[in-house]
């Protein structure tokens, strides 16, 4: 099922801010079904790259193509799902309500969930082992539980590409492994392209197909098993 088809292309892409360029022109691509680790020390531009892909900020130069085309902002919802590191506080949302938010791009004007939507929500609640806390208020969750819920929400959005910004930063070992295995399974079985910003070398070595390294204003593509140390030399 894993076909080598390009889904995202960085074409002469330069990211950063007008007074602080974070990268020289980047030319590389991500394929369907790839699990990719985005690695680099703090401040090297991992989050800025995410922001640029998600159109939160414009590239300084060059462009990002999605399946060969420029992605319009309104098409993001069906193309790229995202999980951020920081926590969102919402009163009165249960775990199920939050996972259901992932289905909003697929619902009608009033956000009404269909049987199919509910089946997809059930599926990801089960896959991430959230069924025991399904009806718990999200404000009462630990950081780790919350992060799992946000991942389930992104998965329920059913986009071909998912970006995760340090998704396991608050998770214990058991929950880290659940997430890693699920991400690998989604990439291989559902042909999803998953770009994960991480500092976790073992995750990169054992689960990812390749790594993108940000260092000295360059992004270098490497085989995942080549990464051996935190400073990526």
């Amino acid at each position: 099922m894993n076909q080598e088809k390009t889904i995202i292309t960085f074409h002469n892409l330069e990211i950063g801010y007008t007074d602080n360029t974070l990268s020289n022109p980047i030319n590389l691509s991500l394929q369907e079904g790839e699990l990719v680790a985005l690695m680099g020390l703090n401040g090297t531009g991992k989050t800025t790259l995410f922001k640029t892909i998600l159109k939160e900020q414009l590239p300084l130069a060059g462009e990002i193509r999605f399946k060969g085309k420029n992605l319009a902002l309104r098409d993001l919802q069906h193309s790229i799902g995202v999980v951020y590191t920081e926590r969102t506080h919402i009163f009165g949302f249960t775990v199920r309500d939050m996972v259901a938010m992932g289905r909003m791009p697929h619902t009608n004007r009033f956000g009404k969930l269909t049987e199919k939507d509910n089946a997809i929500i059930d599926s990801y609640i089960s896959q991430l082992e959230l069924y025991k806390i399904e009806n718990k208020q999200i404000d009462n969750l630990s950081d780790g539980q919350f992060q799992k819920v946000m991942i389930a929400r992104a998965l329920a959005q059913e986009t071909p590409v998912i970006l995760l910004d340090e998704p396991t930063a608050f998770l214990d070992v058991k929950n880290k492994l659940i997430i890693y295995n699920l991400l690998k399974k989604l990439a291989k079985e559902q042909n999803k392209t998953i770009l994960v910003s991480t500092h976790h070398i073992e995750f990169c070595n054992d689960y990812c197909d390749k790594a993108l390294l940000l260092k000295d204003k360059k992004i270098v593509e490497k085989s995942a098993i080549e990464i051996k140390s935190p400073d990526f030399d």
Partner: protein, 321 residues
């Protein structure tokens, strides 16, 4: 208690309060078909309390969702002050300069709406430069003070008759001795705006997630922000033009509604906020003209008496101290 039982309970409460609103007053009257006190005073006053209470409350809900801040509301953010400035301009400047207009009341109402919209847009502009939404509340308070100082200058130079009518308007009241045909000019746009709010319940839910997540899930953030600002500005402007500034209902009611149903889903919170706001509007109106009181208490004295403790409770509940 299920959601449907809660909504039925609120409807029964609203019906009972409406009956009390018509029956109670500084004088006890009989329900005769030709009783002018009931048909020309109490029924329009009761309808105004329901519509204005619901409208100002749902405007508060929209502000809290847009700014993702539990303390946002028309009075706290200075939007009501913007309306007050519009009315002050209308009463003092237009009257003093003797500028003729086709209808003085409508000119003043229009200025109230423009004042509310101006402050809301100003807040929107400022919010782009602020990282913490709590800072926006402080800016809103400052806008309120600034506008009040301008209004004070107008009041100082205004003549006594204008000053008296402005002060009376500022106390707030649901009792508008206006013909039904004129009242509908206020009621109808408020009801239309409330209807529009039901059409944006999905974007409002997405906004709860924060701007970044909302945009990634398809929300056109700039458009929905503009729609919300327009709805809030118009609602607050029209209601303030009709009843005067109404303190605290806008900020307190959405919290009562959310805590009652333990949900933030706007498909539920909007109807519950409308019903709770209408009921609170009636309760405040009934208290303000209980039998035995000589005339009516100022509406704002009553809404503040009820609303201020609720706001303090919100601050403690959200550990904002």
């Amino acid at each position: 208690m299920t959601i449907s039982k809660k909504i039925i309970g609120l409807l029964i409460l609203l019906l009972g309060l409406s009956f009390l609103g018509v029956a109670l007053g500084s004088v006890l009257v009989s329900f005769d078909a030709d009783n002018e006190i009931i048909f020309k005073l109490r029924i329009p006053r009761t309808i105004t309390a329901i519509i204005a209470g619901a409208g100002i409350s749902v405007a508060g809900l929209l502000m809290q969702t847009l700014f993702r801040n539990p303390l946002a509301g028309p009075s706290v953010l200075g939007i009501s002050s913007g309306s007050t400035l519009g009315v002050a301009l209308g009463i003092f400047v237009i009257n003093t300069l003797g500028i003729s207009s086709f209808n003085e009341k409508f000119s003043i109402s229009l200025l109230a709406i423009l004042g509310a919209l101006a402050v809301t847009f100003l807040l929107l502009f400022v919010s782009k430069f602020l990282k913490k939404s709590n800072t926006l509340l402080i800016v809103g308070l400052m806008v309120g003070y600034f506008v009040s100082s301008v209004v004070n200058v107008f009041s100082f130079y205004g003549d006594k008759t204008n000053l008296q009518s402005f002060v009376y308007w500022g106390l707030g009241s649901f009792n508008k001795e206006i013909e039904y045909s004129t009242l509908w000019v206020y009621y109808l746009p408020i009801l239309v705006l409330m209807f529009f709010i039901f059409l944006i319940q999905k974007p409002l839910n997405l906004l709860l997630m924060g701007e970044k997540y909302a945009v990634s899930m398809g929300l056109n953030y700039k458009r929905i922000r503009l729609i919300i600002i327009l709805i809030v500005g118009l609602l607050v402007g029209i209601i303030t033009a009709l009843c005067g500034p109404i303190a605290f209902l806008g900020i307190a009611t959405p919290h009562l509604a959310r805590n009652f149903i333990k949900k933030s889903d706007h498909r539920l919170v909007i109807p519950f906020t409308l019903l709770t706001g209408a009921s609170l509007g009636l309760i405040c109106d009934i208290i303000s003209r209980l039998p035995g009181l000589d005339g009516s208490l100022p509406l704002n004295a009553v809404t503040s008496f009820i609303g201020a403790p609720i706001v303090v409770w919100i601050i403690f509940k959200n550990k904002m101290v």
